[in-house]
Structure formats: structure tokens, C-alpha cells
């Protein structure tokens, strides 16, 4: 398209587009909260995507100004260690990093034992039946192999365990138990370490807009390998999406924070936008669901920031997620990479926190 002669819009069109831009700028998808008590009147369930405390907001505005000064005239390549990657769908900038972090999961045998000890995982067995069966000596699903009534469902389930089919097992558990049930978390022991991918995206807003950064982390022994696919411009989006997709195999188990409602449907929508349809039905451990179940009673809310404080994690430079769109917009408008520094760092921190959250959750379950 660039080859064609550039059309210069007349004054009439410029005026109309300016009015449109004003409208688009005036709207914000979050609210700045001046006094803590104002938060009370927000509807229950409204999360940090929707409100920012005023001091935090002022700090972020100052940070943006500082970064813009600091990175005046800097090139993107010099700011972030990484390189341009390209594929059939386009290009993007890939930032690579290794961060120390402990990724722990429970041993396979221990998890397996916990799971097959829950007879309610066999279709038709409720709490009453379970109690009765346990009294009769059926302690695990294994014991039901010969049971005349529950045999066939038990065998089906055991076969999935035998096959290590995590995807089907997860769907099976989700049918029988709440999505946030600890056993769903224990299922992670059935995956190989190399099958995990932590995922966190940064976007221009809540759906219907571009993803500007896709962060993927692979847990290693005492560290995580981070790949961040950054859009140097909107044109890089399909390339970045494809880089992310190529991390996935059928066996990949995603770990996200609120990814079942946000990150994954968002990626699906963007793939649809570019006609690159993928189902993305991988096993998926959404830490928000587990965190709510584990700490709901001890914490005022289950935002990632609140959880970090609880776990004792510190962040240096950070911005509220809701301000990512404005930061990226400033970069697009000015070409100054300063605001990107804050976005990339924010995303990296989220991935690190998610890693420790995943591990710490096992301590929170009292089964």
C-alpha cells in the first residue's frame, strides 16, 4: 500500500477527523479514585482495570515524563536487548531475558494419589455415595475398577490418567468440580516442566483493539526464560501473534492470571481479526481463580498487586495496567521509546509474580 501515491486530505476531512480524535481521547476506561472511600460506590467485582488511586496515577504520569526525557532520541534496538524476528505473517521485536524464579510443582505420585482419592470425580457419585463407598473400602478410583455400578466411568477416567491426557482430564475435573478447585491445580503435576508456558499480554484496551506486547515465560530449574514480543508499530501484530503461537504445542499448558476471561479470548479475537483462526484449547491454569479460592478471606481483593504484597514481592518501576494504552499511544505518537520501558518491565514483573504465585498456591491448600 505504501507504494501508492499519498492522498492529502482536505480541510473538511481533517476537521472531521480531529473531532473524532477528541472524542476518542476524552474517553478513559478507568476512573481515578481521589479518596479511598470513593471505591465503595463502585460496583462489586470491578477490578483494577477500572480504577486507579490518585497517588498512583500521579506517580505514573511523572514516570512517563521522566522516561520520555531519559530516552529522548534512543533507538528501540539499543534500549531492549533482543532482535527483530520474522515469520510468514510479519515481523516484531523479540526481547529475551532470563530471570531467577522458583517454579515448583507437587510430585506426580502425590498429586495422582490426591486426585484418584476423590471418588466424586466419577460421574454420578456425590458426597453421600462417596462416604458410603469409602466405608465399604473403596478408597480410590482404582478400587472401583470392579465395582458393578461405577466401573465404566472409573475406567474411562483411569485411562485418561494412564494416557497423561491433561487436556481431557482438566475438562473432566471442570465438569465435576469448581474451576478453582485445588485438584485442578494438582493436575499440573501431570505436565512435563517443558510443557508450561506462562502468558501475559499488554493491550490498547479491553477487547477490540491491538495487543501491543505478548510475554511468554518458560520455567527452568531456578529461573524462567522470558520472550517478550513487542510491536514496534501496529503492523507488527500478526507477526507477534504468530511468534506466540509457535511456542504452543498440543501439550502446552498455559499459566495465566485471569487468562481464561482476558488473555486467551483476546488473542483468539485478534487471530480472528487477521484471519489466522486457532482454537487455543490448551490445558490452562488460571491463577486468578485459584488465588480467589485460597486468599479471598484474608485479602481485601485478589488483584495481582495485592497478592504481591501478601507474598512479599517488590516492584521497582511500575505502572497500573490500565495506563498501558496511554503509554503505548504516547510512543506511537512521538516515537519516544521511554514509555515502552515501563510497559516491558511491567509485563516482565507480572510473569515473575505469576511464577511464584503458582508455586506458593500449593502451600495455601489445606487438603
Amino acid at each position: 500500500m505504501g507504494k501508492n501515491k499519498k492522498v492529502v486530505p482536505s480541510a473538511k476531512f481533517i476537521k472531521a477527523s480531529e473531532i473524532l480524535k477528541q472524542k476518542a481521547t476524552r474517553i478513559r476506561e478507568y476512573e481515578v479514585i481521589r479518596k479511598p472511600e470513593e471505591r465503595q460506590r463502585l460496583p462489586i467485582g470491578v477490578g483494577s482495570e477500572y480504577w486507579i488511586d490518585e497517588p498512583e496515577y500521579i506517580q505514573a504520569v511523572k514516570l512517563k515524563e521522566r522516561l520520555i526525557r531519559e530516552f529522548e532520541g534512543e533507538q528501540l534496538e539499543n534500549t531492549f536487548a533482543g532482535q527483530v524476528v520474522s515469520n510468514n505473517f510479519g515481523e516484531c521485536y523479540c526481547i529475551q531475558d532470563v530471570c531467577s524464579s522458583h517454579f515448583k510443582k507437587v510430585a506426580y505420585e502425590q498429586s495422582k494419589k490426591r486426585i484418584i482419592s476423590d471418588l466424586k470425580l466419577v460421574y454420578g457419585i456425590g458426597p453421600i455415595w462417596e462416604r458410603r463407598l469409602k466405608q465399604q473400602g473403596y478408597v480410590t478410583i482404582e478400587n472401583l475398577r470392579e465395582h458393578p455400578r461405577w466401573r465404566s466411568s472409573a475406567l474411562q477416567f483411569l485411562e485418561l490418567i494412564e494416557d497423561n491426557d491433561v487436556g481431557s482430564l482438566q475438562n473432566w475435573l471442570w465438569r465435576c468440580l469448581p474451576k478453582s478447585h485445588p485438584l485442578v491445580h494438582y493436575l499440573a503435576s501431570f505436565c512435563r516442566d517443558e510443557d508450561f508456558a506462562l502468558l501475559d499480554i499488554e493491550t490498547l484496551g479491553l477487547f477490540g483493539r491491538a495487543i501491543v506486547l505478548l510475554g511468554v515465560a518458560k520455567p527452568k530449574k531456578n529461573s524462567i526464560d522470558i520472550h517478550q514480543y513487542l510491536l514496534r508499530d501496529i503492523a507488527d501484530e500478526p507477526g507477534a501473534l504468530w511468534e506466540f503461537i509457535s511456542h504452543l504445542t498440543e501439550k502446552t499448558a498455559l499459566i495465566t492470571f485471569n487468562g481464561r476471561s482476558f488473555d486467551v479470548p483476546f488473542i483468539r479475537e485478534r487471530l480472528g481479526f487477521y484471519g489466522m483462526v486457532r482454537p487455543l484449547n490448551n490445558p490452562h491454569f488460571d491463577l486468578l481463580h485459584f488465588s480467589r479460592r485460597a486468599w479471598r478471606d484474608q485479602l481485601p481483593d485478589c488483584q495481582l498487586g495485592t497478592l504481591e504484597k501478601h507474598l512479599g514481592v517488590q516492584r521497582d518501576v511500575d505502572i497500573p495496567s490500565a495506563l498501558v494504552p496511554e503509554f503505548y499511544e504516547t510512543y506511537l505518537k512521538t516515537g519516544n521509546v521511554g514509555p515502552l520501558v515501563a510497559i516491558v518491565e511491567h509485563n516482565k514483573q507480572d510473569l515473575i509474580t505469576m511464577t511464584s504465585l503458582f508455586s506458593k498456591l500449593y502451600e495455601a491448600w489445606n487438603l
Binding site: M1, V8, F13, A16, L20, L204, A235, E237, G272
Partner: protein
């Protein structure tokens, strides 16, 4: 029976020659026709069971759809349009068990009505279709299953506007989409219609992406330009089905003009009182009657007054009447609709909410209290009266305004002329740009998409790129803003400045700044859904209007003066005098507003508003020196004549292009800076224009002719609200010279004729 009733009206003591005209519309027999190919057995069986034989227009429509044509059906209310598109839809559903269909209605009430019909057809024909409504009221947990399983989805433009960005979730539905039915398309006109036209292009672009190319079936009230309108609305070519084959009994159409109550012949009796009396007479005669009123309040009041006057003598009849309006709960409305169908209700007063296709059966009599603004609406409302065999009655009761009075004086004009043109503007840069922005967030935009979005494509794209609202990428232009585009594009407005009206902190509506200047300035009485509010403040910085609810017995009108400048000439023609059309810059100065009861000014109050400027499309004509001299030689006021013509022309505009009074404005001047001659301008009241002036330019000879007749045939001597007085006039209707206006128009007329021959 109807004839006897009319005779009895004339014999009454209160009769003062209100009947200006009675038109007898002869009955016509049903005209049936056979299809080129027989129907599938199950569908034929369904028709047989219901005792239905296809009328000629239905057969015609079905034949054309089967040949793969896009079809627009323009036949009157209750002629069986619904069946004409439901049959080919079900045929296609039977033939292809994956096929899906989309039905679009302008209102939610209509979708629900149609859903019942489709459910019934599905059951009778015995295939699984799962027709479902999918709109703002659809509960969230039902949505995935409707998207996955429904083969007919009914929705409205507001819904589609929100759902298009989620198209990947609708893949199955769009992939298999065979027919889009758009009903009541005459509703899609003006600003709303132009927005919907862009929306339909976005929809068709998504269909193309998923590999489908749905056929379009449109249905509309009778309009003057079905072919042009359907093409503009969708971008596709259509075949028109217009000849109504359904059976009609004889219909009497009365033009009823409230009598003068003063000796100078300038003031007439209240239209509302006349309406009430007529309604009571109809009810006493046991005619099942529907009375259309211009406001919700009048619908309620006429029912209340009628009940009071019937209570003493016929309490049973008093209980058989009720009011109906859009604000009622769906359940309440259902009861009234059913009451009409089962004939348990004898009389209903209603706003135009009952004008559209909701099934209420046919009635004996319809009273239209005040010309509804368009010939189309008048016929739609009149169509509610009339059974297949029996006689029926329609009574149009006039208000004392120019258009109502024009029809009272020229009733034959009403019957002879064709309906108005439904106007859609595809070249308003604001509208085009907004929808291009939305489209760029649905699928990358490429040059190939130009075919959907008119000649403004390149310039709009370039301007959007400049604002970084879209980015040029190898895949095409992609939305790059951070606000959900559909949330800032409102199908009812043009992207000028929008102001928000709040009452006790709750938003009650949004409107264009232009409209706010006219109707929501400080101290204005703002009518919203039939309730009156007082505007406490219009804050231009925050774009907000604060109002409080209060019942008052007056209304307000701003007084403004206008300056106009020609920016760019688009076209000119000489039809005997010189006519031009082009871009104009309008500046309106709002000086004060008046408080009025009925037509009497009871007070004035100053306004403190900066001038309102906007660029739009206007048409203008200049008058030759010779006419000016002639007028001045007769000691008449030439300026007053121009001013009178301007008012009358604006009053006559809705006669040609469907629009409301605030959609257009005018200026007349003895000498205009740009033309150097006496000039009259008429311009579209919206930023960027909306196509009305263009229509006037096209039809200008007719406009002159009817304007002259309006003024000449009015009974008044010096001019009155029925002809040259304008309720909007910024100069308190001064100067006005009726005689001068007649002579000027007459000379213009002669020049036009000379030019022709």
C-alpha cells in the same frame, strides 16, 4: 354505514363545515397469482392449512428471490409483506440445512412480534430453525448457544453495531448466511439511515470475509424512491415489487379542518378538542377506532377526556377505550394489542408506536390527529383501517401549520402525488469516517474495501491515519486507538460535538450540540419521551446539560440570526432563474429565547451563547433585478417577500424529503456577499450535510410550484401560521409580505415555464 356516519356528523349542531374533502377510495378485489415453480410440499401444506392463497405481489416477490435477485417490497400495511419474505426464507432453510438468516428491525418491539410468527412457522413446517432474538435484552448465558445453533437471528442495527467486532464468535452464522431481511426500511433515513447504510456495508464486508454473499430482501412503506433508497442503504441493486394484490374494502378519507373561532379568520378551534369529539362519535357508533396523536401526552389526554364524556351515558363504552404508547411495559402493550385483535377494545389512542408492523388486525376507523409529517406515515397510519370487504374510515384532523393547512386546501395533491423520498447521504465525511474507523477494528481495511465506502474512502483513510486512529500495515489499515470504536460512534448522531443531558445525575439522552443550542439552552423546556424538563444549565466546556423535571404550561423557542458564506460550489443550473448547490459555512447567533403558550409569546429571556458555526451543504437561488423592480414599483416590500418565501419553502421541504423541522435552516437576504444579488438559502442543519438540500436542488421546480400554491391558497390576508409565519423565525416573523411573495413566485414560475418551452 360509513356514509351514514358522515351524514350524521354533518347534521350535528357542532358541525361548522369542518369537512374540507371526502375521498372515496374504491375497493379492489384480491389479485392472486401462481408461482413459476411450485412450493415445497411442507410450505404449501402450511399455507393450505391457514387457507392462504398467494397474492400477486407475494408471488412476484418469491419468484424474484428464487431467481437470485435482491428484492424490495413496497406495498401498504397489512398486505402480507411478512409472508412474502418468510416463504423464500423457509424454502432456503429447507434446501440447505446449514443455512442461516438475519432479520433486522428498527425497534425491539417489532423483533418480538416477528419472533412469534417465525416460531409458529417453524413448528408448522417441522424443521428445526431455533429462531431467536439477539439484542441488548438477550441474557448473557443464552448468547453462545444462539450464536451456535440459531438459524434465524432477529436483531436491530444498534445490536449489530456492537456485535460486529466479535465476528469470529459468529463464524458459523456468517459463513452460512443466505438471506438478510431488513424490514421497515423507510425508517432508515436522515442521520440514522446514513449511519445504518454504513453499518450494512460493514456487515456485508464481514460476510464476504467468511465467504458468504447473502441475498437481501427489504420491505418498506411506500416511498417515492425505493430503487434509489435500497441501493443507497445497502450498496446493492434491487428489483422493486410494488403492485399490491391484496383485497381491500371501500375506504373513505376525510380531511377535517377545525373551524375558525374568530372573525378575522386567523385562529382555529383546538385540534385536540376536535379530535376528542370525533373519537367519541366513532366510539358511540361502535366503530373500532384507532386514534394517532402527535405526542404521548395527547394520547393519554384524549383517552382521559373521551372516557369522561362517555362515562355518564355509556359507561361500558368508556371502559372499552385505552391509551397506548412506547413507554408502556411490554406486557401491558401485549394486552392492548390482543384487545384490538380480539375486538374487546373498541378505541385506542396511540402515538406512532402502532404505525409500524405490529399485528393488531384491521380496524373500522382511524383518526390521525395532526399531519404526521410525511405522506408515508399518513398512509401507514391510514392502513390500520380497512378490512378485506367492509367499508372503513380515515379522518385526518389538521393543525394550524403550513403543511397541514396546505393539504386541507389541496387535498387532491395528497392523493395524486407520490410519497416522499427517503434520504440517505453516503458522502457525509463525519459518518463515513466513523464507520471506516469501526471497520478497521473489525478486519484490516484494504483498497478492495473502497467498493463499500464511496468516493470518500481515500481522503477519510488519510485523515484517520494522520490522527493515528488507524495505522497502515502490510495487512491493511488497522485500528490503533485505545477506545473501543463502536462506543464512540452513535447511530443517531453525527460526530459533531455531542452533549449529555442529565437529570439528578442520571443521563437521560445525548444530542448534537446544534440541537442542544436549539432545544436545551439555559431556561429551555426540553421534551423527552413525552415528559417536560427545564434546562438549568448548558455547559459548553464539559458538554453537559443539566435539567430538572417540571410540568409547565409553556414551551420555548430560541431566536437566532444566521450568516452564511459559500465555500465551494458543487453544481449550478439555470431553470429560468439561477440555482446553486455547494458547501456553505453557517454561523448562527443565538440572541434570546421566547416563552410561548399555544401561539402566544408570554415572555423573553436573553441567551449568553457563543455563535455556533458549522459547515454543511446548502442550496441557493438568486432573483433577477427585473422582479425586484416590479415589486418595488407596486410599493410592496421585496425583502418581506423573500423572507416569506424562505419560510414557506422550508415548511414545504418535508413534502419532498423526509425530515424534521430542525433538519434544515434558511436565510434570505436582499444582497448576498457571495452572489451579489437577492438570494435565498436553504441548508442542512448538520455538520457535513445530510442530503436534504441536494434533493431540493434536484426537485427545485416542483418546490417553487407547491410553495406558491401554499401561500396563494391560504385564506388569510397578510400571512398567518398556516402559510408564511415560521415558529422558528429569528426575526419574530418581520418583515413579511404575502403579496410580494406571491408575485415573486409567480414570476419565477413563468420564467421556469418559458425556459421549458
Amino acid at each position: 354505514m360509513i356514509e351514514m356516519f358522515i351524514q350524521s356528523l354533518k347534521r350535528q349542531e357542532s358541525y361548522k363545515k369542518q369537512i374540507e374533502y371526502v375521498k372515496e377510495i374504491p375497493p379492489h378485489k384480491a389479485c392472486y397469482a401462481e408461482l413459476e415453480q411450485p412450493l415445497q410440499e411442507v410450505i404449501q401444506h402450511y399455507l393450505d392449512q391457514k387457507g392462504i392463497r398467494l397474492y400477486s405481489h407475494q408471488a412476484n416477490a418469491i419468484n424474484k428471490v428464487r431467481r437470485g435477485k435482491n428484492v424490495i417490497i413496497v406495498t401498504p400495511t397489512a398486505s402480507g409483506k411478512t409472508l412474502a419474505f418468510n416463504i423464500p426464507v423457509f424454502e432456503a432453510l429447507i434446501k440447505d440445512d446449514k443455512a442461516t438468516m438475519l432479520y433486522l428491525y428498527p425497534t425491539k418491539a417489532l423483533t418480538n412480534d416477528q419472533l412469534q410468527v417465525l416460531n409458529e412457522m417453524e413448528e408448522a413446517i417441522g424443521i428445526s430453525v431455533f429462531p431467536n432474538v439477539y439484542d441488548g435484552d438477550t441474557v448473557v448465558h443464552k448468547r453462545p448457544s444462539i450464536r451456535k445453533h440459531s438459524r434465524i437471528i432477529l436483531s436491530n442495527p444498534y445490536g449489530i453495531h456492537q456485535y460486529l467486532p466479535w465476528h469470529y464468535k459468529w463464524k458459523r452464522f456468517f459463513q452460512n448466511l443466505k438471506i438478510i431481511v431488513i424490514d421497515e426500511t423507510h425508517m432508515y433515513r436522515g442521520v440514522f439511515g446514513s449511519n445504518v447504510a454504513m453499518l450494512i456495508r460493514r456487515l456485508l464486508r464481514i460476510c464476504q470475509h467468511y465467504g458468504s454473499d447473502p441475498q437481501l430482501i427489504l420491505s418498506s412503506a411506500t416511498i417515492a424512491n425505493p430503487k434509489e433508497h435500497s441501493k443507497k442503504l445497502t450498496g446493492e441493486d434491487f428489483e422493486v415489487v410494488a403492485n399490491d394484490g391484496s383485497a381491500r374494502g371501500k375506504k373513505f378519507f376525510i380531511f377535517w379542518n377545525p373551524p375558525f373561532i374568530d372573525e378575522t379568520y386567523t385562529i382555529r378551534r383546538s385540534t385536540h378538542q376536535e379530535t376528542k369529539d370525533l373519537f367519541v362519535q366513532n366510539i358511540l357508533n361502535k366503530f373500532q377506532t384507532l386514534c394517532f396523536t402527535v405526542s404521548r401526552k395527547m394520547a393519554e389526554l384524549i383517552t382521559r377526556w373521551s372516557k369522561e364524556s362517555l362515562k355518564a351515558t355509556s359507561p361500558r363504552l368508556a371502559n372499552a377505550i385505552t391509551a397506548y404508547r412506547a413507554g408502556y411495559l411490554p406486557g401491558e402493550r401485549r394486552v392492548i394489542e390482543k384487545g384490538l385483535r380480539t375486538k374487546n377494545l373498541l378505541g385506542v389512542t396511540s402515538t406512532n408506536a402502532l404505525e409500524l408492523g405490529i399485528d393488531i388486525g384491521s380496524l373500522d376507523s382511524v383518526i390521525i390527529s395532526g399531519y404526521p409529517g410525511t405522506v408515508i406515515s399518513t398512509w401507514q397510519q391510514a392502513g390500520r383501517a380497512g378490512r378485506t370487504t367492509a367499508d372503513s374510515l380515515v379522518t385526518l384532523v389538521a393543525f394550524q401549520n403550513p403543511l397541514d393547512q396546505y393539504f386541507m386546501k389541496h387535498p387532491q395533491d395528497f392523493f395524486d402525488r407520490s410519497q416522499e423520498h427517503a434520504i440517505i447521504d453516503l458522502e457525509n465525511p463525519y459518518i463515513v469516517m466513523e464507520h471506516l474507523m469501526c471497520a478497521s477494528a473489525e478486519l484490516p481495511l484494504t483498497r478492495k474495501d473502497r467498493k463499500y465506502f464511496s468516493a470518500l474512502f481515500e481522503e477519510s483513510i488519510a485523515a484517520l491515519e494522520k490522527q493515528i486512529l488507524i495505522r497502515n500495515t502490510p495487512n491493511g489499515w488497522v485500528y490503533s486507538g485505545r477506545v473501543r470504536p463502536v462506543s464512540i460512534v452513535n447511530l443517531n448522531n453525527i460526530s459533531n460535538k455531542i452533549v449529555t443531558v442529565t437529570c439528578n445525575g442520571d443521563i437521560i439522552e445525548t444530542m448534537d450540540l446544534t440541537k442542544a443550542y436549539n432545544e436545551a439552552h439555559q431556561g429551555a423546556v426540553l421534551l423527552h419521551q413525552g415528559e417536560s424538563y427545564i434546562v438549568e444549565a448548558l455547559n459548553l466546556e464539559t458538554s453537559t446539560v443539566k435539567v430538572r423535571q417540571e410540568d409547565v404550561n409553556y414551551y420555548t423557542e430560541p431566536r437566532k440570526t444566521v450568516e452564511i458564506e459559500i465555500k465551494k460550489l458543487h453544481e449550478e443550473k439555470h431553470v429560468g432563474i439561477d440555482i446553486g448547490i455547494g458547501e456553505v459555512e453557517v454561523t448562527e447567533f443565538f440572541q434570546y429565547f421566547v416563552l410561548k403558550t399555544y401561539d402566544e409569546v408570554i415572555g423573553r429571556s436573553a441567551l449568553n451563547l457563543p455563535p455556533l458555526g458549522f459547515s454543511t451543504i446548502g442550496m441557493w437561488f438568486t432573483l433577477p433585478e427585473a422582479i425586484r423592480k416590479e415589486i418595488e414599483n407596486q410599493s410592496l416590500d421585496f425583502e418581506g417577500g423573500l423572507h416569506a418565501i424562505e419560510h414557506a419553502m422550508i415548511a414545504m421541504t418535508p413534502f419532498y424529503a423526509m425530515c424534521d423541522r430542525w433538519d434544515i435552516g434558511g436565510v434570505s437576504t436582499l444582497i448576498h456577499f457571495d452572489t451579489g444579488r437577492p438570494t435565498i438559502f436553504i441548508y442542512d442543519g448538520y455538520e457535513g450535510g445530510i442530503g436534504i438540500s441536494e434533493k431540493l436542488y434536484e426537485l427545485v421546480e416542483h418546490v417553487f410550484e407547491t410553495t406558491l400554491r401554499l401561500i396563494k391558497d391560504c385564506e388569510c390576508k397578510e400571512g398567518c401560521p398556516s402559510c408564511i409565519y415560521s415558529p422558528k423565525c429569528g426575526n419574530e416573523n418581520e418583515p413579511l409580505d404575502k403579496k410580494a411573495a406571491i408575485i415573486i413566485l409567480d414570476r419565477v414560475q413563468k420564467r421556469i415555464q418559458n425556459k421549458k418551452s
